[in-house]
Amino acid sequence: MDILNPSKGKCGAEAAAQPEPARLDLETVRERLREKRGNELWRSLDDLAGTPEFQDFLHREFPRFASEAPEEMTKTDGVSRRRFLQLTSASLALAGLTGCTKQPNEAIIPYVKQPEYIVPGRPLFFATTLTHGGYARGVLAESHMGRPTKIEGNPDHPASLGATDVFDQAAVLTLYDPERSQSIVHNGRIGTWGAFVGEAGARLRALEALGGEGVRILTGTITSPTMAAQLQDLLARFPNARWHQWEPAGSHHGRAAAQAAFGQPLETRYDFGAARVVLALDSDVLTRGPGNVRYQRDFARTRRVRKDNLQMSRLYAVESVPTNTGTLADHRLPLPAPEVEVFALALAQALGVVSGGGAGAGDVLADARAKRWLPVIAADLKANAGAALVVADEYASPATQVLVHAINQALGNTGRTVFHTAPVEVIPANGADQVESMRQLVADMNAGRVELLLMLGGVNPLYTAPADLGFTQALQKVDLRVHHGLYEDETSEYCHWHIPAAHELESWGDARSFDGTVSLMQPLIDPLYSGRTAIEILAVLFANRADATSYEVVRDHWKTLLVGDFEAAWKKALHDGLIADIPATQLPPAGASMAGGAAQAAASAMVRSLQQVRQHPGMVTLRLRPDPMVGDGSLAPNPWLQELPKPMTKLTWDNALTVGPAMAERLKLVHEDMAEVTWNGRKVKAAVWVLPGQAEGTAELTLGYGRRRAGRATGLGFDAYPLRTTQALWNLPGAEIRPLGERYSFASTQNHHALESGAEEIPLAGNEAERRELIRTGTLEELRRHPDFIQEEREKPAPDETLYPPVEYKGHAWGMAIDLNVCTGCSSCMIACQAENNIPVVGKEQVLRGREMHWIRVDRYYSGDMDDPRIHNQPVPCMQCENAPCEVVCPVAATSHSDEGLNDMVYNRCVGTRYCSNNCPYKVRRFNFLRYSDRDTPVLALLQNPDVTVRMRGVMEKCTYCVQRIEQAKIESKVENRPIPANRLQTACQQACPTEAIVFGDINDPRWEVTKWKADPLNYGLLEELNTRPRTTYLAKISNPNPALEAEHGDH
């Protein structure tokens, strides 16, 4: 009311007392702005803002600010431009100017629907590309009236096939993040693009004569063909300039291994669909790395057991730290990190890939169980030669990876389940080794040979560079330091210039995915914070294209490459989101063969290091790994990712030094106590997390935390980078861990207070989960012998065991089924739900109090011995019970049943007794204990899904089965006078799920997949003995153990 309904009294009187300035009303403002578009509009607003008429206009029209603004203005002796714009932008947007969305000026092509008519309330989907560590995933961005609100996978893109990972889902939040840098910074002050181009350009012109001597460019891993061409041209024009790369969490060892094995840095990719037996060696290949979404999909398809398909692949996992991949393994063997590598050696010996040096196969192994397992696994792999797959950790030592390449080759897997292709990334002239590249750069900087250092694409070497290089000191010897990134960070603080980067959803560009497929990036929105792309910077500075836009650069690049009618091909590429057939950009398998003796050399190297390991019993190996949620730390400012529980620990807002229960006891480490890690004289303090299933002798600390300058992420968790040196990037043998005795508190979403209530809570929870049959399990053999064994175990009360009359669902009856057999626990569903349903983030302090808001969660249970447990994942959305216990206890009928079987939540009616939540056996209800939704930051309003209510403080909320999508589908079917096509309607969690573990649909209609799943003998309901009649049901987790190992493994 204060904005749209100005009160005349006070302001009118003031205005009358002063000399009347020229009248300016909304019409005039509109008039003046009418001919302007896009960026020009903002410039003219700037111009307008200074005029007295405009101030008066504001005073009269916006009394809400009239009380605030004069004080602010007098304080700064006139109009503070910044403050002024802050105050006015929202009001102007309301006043009908094009303030809320910024459409790009160039034509972009929608994925499914033509953009001629933007129908208010109807989203458009555009194919574009997001990159992680340089590698692309094709996605569809949902755009509501020009605002991207949600990311979905691009079903046509080979790295996605319609699914996404957590990073894709989180991208929209980064896009709108008000903490992104919003202006060019020059020596700590606001600068201008012109001044930057002037200064850097002048410097470059001066250096051009010297062939670009002293010019250095530092980027992350680059797969963009356009940028590759730009860099190539640049290096041709400035032959003495150098391009360096540093991707902190890149595949440094993978490249080195490929170099050793094949003599060139080949890319390795897998086809899980063709593999019948998989051995993962400390590798979380299913949920990490550029191909993970695709791998999950392929793998899941080999594990989908149904009554008419009693076949499944077998997965062995030998690992030191529990991984998502390990949770699905039929046999999981925890071994200390160095022993896993030894296992690879032993396997190579057992398969005759390398000679055992006279000793028998398995003699190198120390662990008795590993000795027994080795021949069995080797035999199984051999029996399935050509359809087997051995996967090494991409962070494992190069020697291990070489051996694994050799094993795959010896088994005939190469070319069938494993492919080596030309590198996807662009390899600079100075070699693929990024560590070496950084070393050179630092050496050059120290020697004073670098005059201009351009750090593009958000690289943050001050935080991520190997600690022994001394990057910070070296950097200060560079004359002109330029940083380009989404955020002002540790590095930008030491730079003369910081240029805000455009987010990928604001950019034109291109990138390759793990298999080489090129997809185009098209902007969904004009840069919100005047960001620039790296492509633009390169074009402006080095190609003398002063007014080049990235659109032109990318288009020009493809103009020469796309065959046939360019316009048509370009449109198709944009529409499809990938350049598939003109020419196909997927890289063909390279017929590379292993260099002779590479495997044997690797084996001897391993034997040597093995002796060292054996000489130090009780030695601790510290693994450094990218964090499952914030990666190398560049994603740390994203609150969705911070609050997304890490799959194994369910930890939020922190990283932790994880150790196994046995080692914790040996080293006297206490859960949630601080400890000091020392490696080679370098020390880091971190709090300990005792993780069941983590092997003795192995500790892990993830990278990406302890940021020093990252807005809200500053100071969260513990910085592991000080331990990370060029000698050891990932595995630090011989680390020492010493308890410090100080307490720390972790905010975990499961078993929040495991420690407070005694260390027994986690095993107790596991036992109880088993006792209550929350996760029903069985083996393939059992299922073959006795297909109905799950059905016979079920305690399903008869439908008439209620006093209420039975309800018949005549029309649609919505239901969901979740296949526990393929759920990896990757948590994409959680964050997809968060994005779709405007779920707020609550922060560490509230998570500590047990108030996280996720509508779907992934429960993790352990069963068996805590040193070697079986680990289960169980996604839990609302069960939409037909006899819902929540409904009968609500005093105001705020939660009630729809005639389609949805347990609806009416926010407006909720008074917040929380009785429904108490009475919900599944505890899926979430309460707004405080005002969690951010309604004060205008830019975050753009992020919200307009089809979903933003909840206020004091109301209950929960999973709705994405009722907005259901209603949309129903409206469409009504308009088009046809039934909802089977399997077309998807919930957000289902759509994001890489393994297709979730299906949703009309259980009254046999055409829907969900109906088939529910008829399967593996189908069961959670706690169905309570007669809640849940609409969400689960398919039991079936394992395919090797009979030769079964006796040894008990129930596994």
């Binding site: 006792r771 509230q846 216990p885 108490n918 599944y922 505890k923 309460f927």
Partner: protein, 469 residues
């Protein structure tokens, strides 16, 4: 029937101490009780009221902060959706029970010893219900919409959801509050008239006179009064049972193991009476000492209340035992786990403390030595009040904190605002109590007159101080 010193040798066995100390006449009774109200305010009252009022201000601050920030300032969470607010609600409601029981049921049963304690027990009920009644509103996520729980014609076209026990609560508690208030007020009318006639200040005369509603003590007045009082007693009697039965439904109707039990209604009612008598003792013992009312609130009263506590306490212990027995006997794993968790889980110390307070300590009341010692009775009554609070804490929190899915288990801890609100309501209770003892006769004058020698059963309005019948 007046109790007089019985002749030696005619003592009933066991010995029953008198309801009123010997030597009192209707005149001395009136003098003694009304003088508490009519003489100058003693200094200690200001101190007592001041401290209570300060505590009440804690309530003001806590509630203001709560309304400003939301329910999140409390410790409630997932999975423990109800915390101190519901614990305190049930606790206060339970405390209120003794008043109604003493007033109504003992009146109907013609237990004349109730006479000297019923007035302040009723007042206590009223104040306890006032304290209790605030919690269900304050604990709402959106307390400003609490009126949606009432069935009133509205533009939304919505009824409340009558299947919810919370709606039953609304009716039960509001009925209880109304009847208790009426009962108390009606009982006060003859005494208000006495105060009107005796007070010397004009203002007091007007105010007491207004509330005495023109009472003149005529036979017709007495007739109507007696009828009304008996009717109200009849109305209030089922409430003693119904209110806490309905409150227990809040839990028993839920499916949470530890809540879902048919024993809850009787067990809650017994617990309420138990807690109520404990609170009456907690208040009566200091009051009689301070005001020198040992003659009216005699050892017989204290002993009787001790006996009631012992009896109801044993019922409560029986309830605990049956809960455990049926958890085992049902063969239901979830039930068994919940009760095992009570005694071995992270809240085991609460449970042990509860057993000590409610089951062990009151066993002292078997012994006359403790039953006749105001000091020990006071100590035991405090222990029982704490125990009953713990009982509600154990029921509400330990049942919720580890229910069906182990993934959702959590812990609950009251925050400073939880404590502030709780202590604040104690401040409210004490403040009201201080106002009550200052401005109203804490013992029913006219009823006392009927039980001293010279008084008449049925009451007769007498005003002159020295008059004896």
């Amino acid at each position: 029937m007046a109790t007089i010193d019985p002749a030696p040798g005619t003592l009933p066995k066991p010995f029953k101490p008198p309801v009123v100390a010997p030597g009192h006449t209707p005149g001395t009774v009136t003098d003694k009780i009304s003088s508490v109200v009519l003489r100058r305010t003693p200094k200690w009252w200001y101190i007592g009221f001041g401290v209570s009022f300060l505590i009440l201000m804690v309530f003001l601050v806590s509630v203001s902060w709560l309304l400003l920030k939301g329910i999140g300032v409390w410790g409630v969470n997932q999975p423990v959706g109800w915390g101190f607010a519901i614990v305190n609600f049930v606790w206060w409601i339970g405390i209120g029970h003794a008043g109604t029981l003493i007033s109504a049921i003992l009146l109907l049963l013609r237990q004349e010893w109730r006479t000297s304690i019923n007035r302040f027990a009723e007042a206590m009920t009223l104040f306890a219900v006032a304290c209790a009644g605030m919690y269900p509103i304050l604990h709402l996520g959106r307390p400003w919409l609490a009126y949606w729980l009432f069935p009133y014609p509205n533009t939304m076209g919505m009824w409340p959801q009558f299947r919810s026990p919370l709606i039953w609560d609304v009716f039960a508690v509001s009925t209880y509050a109304t009847v208790s208030a009426l009962f108390w007020y009606v009982g006060l009318i003859p005494d208000l008239a006495t105060l009107r006639d005796r007070s010397r200040k004009r203002v007091a005369k007007v105010i007491y006179g207004f509330f005495a509603m023109g009472w003149r003590g005529s036979a017709a007045h007495w007739h109507n009064y007696e009828t009304a009082y008996l009717l109200l007693a009849g109305l209030a009697t089922p409430l003693v049972v119904s209110v806490h039965t309905v409150v227990s439904f809040d839990f028993a109707i839920g499916i949470v193991p530890g809540w879902h039990a048919t024993i809850f209604p009787p067990y809650f009612v017994a617990g309420a009476i138990y807690a109520g008598f404990a609170m009456v003792l907690t208040l009566a013992i200091p009051l009689r000492a301070v005001f020198g009312l040992q003659d009216f609130i005699t050892m017989r009263h204290l002993q009787n209340m001790g006996k009631v506590m012992l009896a109801t306490g044993l019922i409560v212990v029986y309830g605990y035992t049956m809960e455990f027995f049926f958890a085992w006997y049902s063969g239901n794993h979830l039930e068994r786990f919940t009760f095992l968790n009570r005694i071995t889980g992270p809240y085991r110390y609460h449970w042990f403390a509860l057993i000590f307070c409610n089951a062990v300590a009151p066993q002292l009341l078997w012994f006359r030595r403790f039953r006749t010692s105001p000091f020990w009775l006071f100590v035991i009554s405090i222990i029982v009040s704490v125990g009953m609070w713990l009982e509600r804490f154990v029921i509400v929190i330990t049942s919720l904190h580890r229910d069906f899915l182990p993934s959702s288990w959590g812990m609950y801890k009251g925050t400073m605002w939880d404590w502030g609100t709780y202590i604040g309501t104690i401040g409210l209770f004490l403040s009201l109590l201080f106002l009550f003892i200052r401005f109203l006769p804490m013992i029913s004058i006219f009823e006392m007159r009927t039980i001293v020698p010279g008084g008449q059963q049925g009451g007769e309005y007498t005003d002159s101080p020295g008059e004896q019948a």
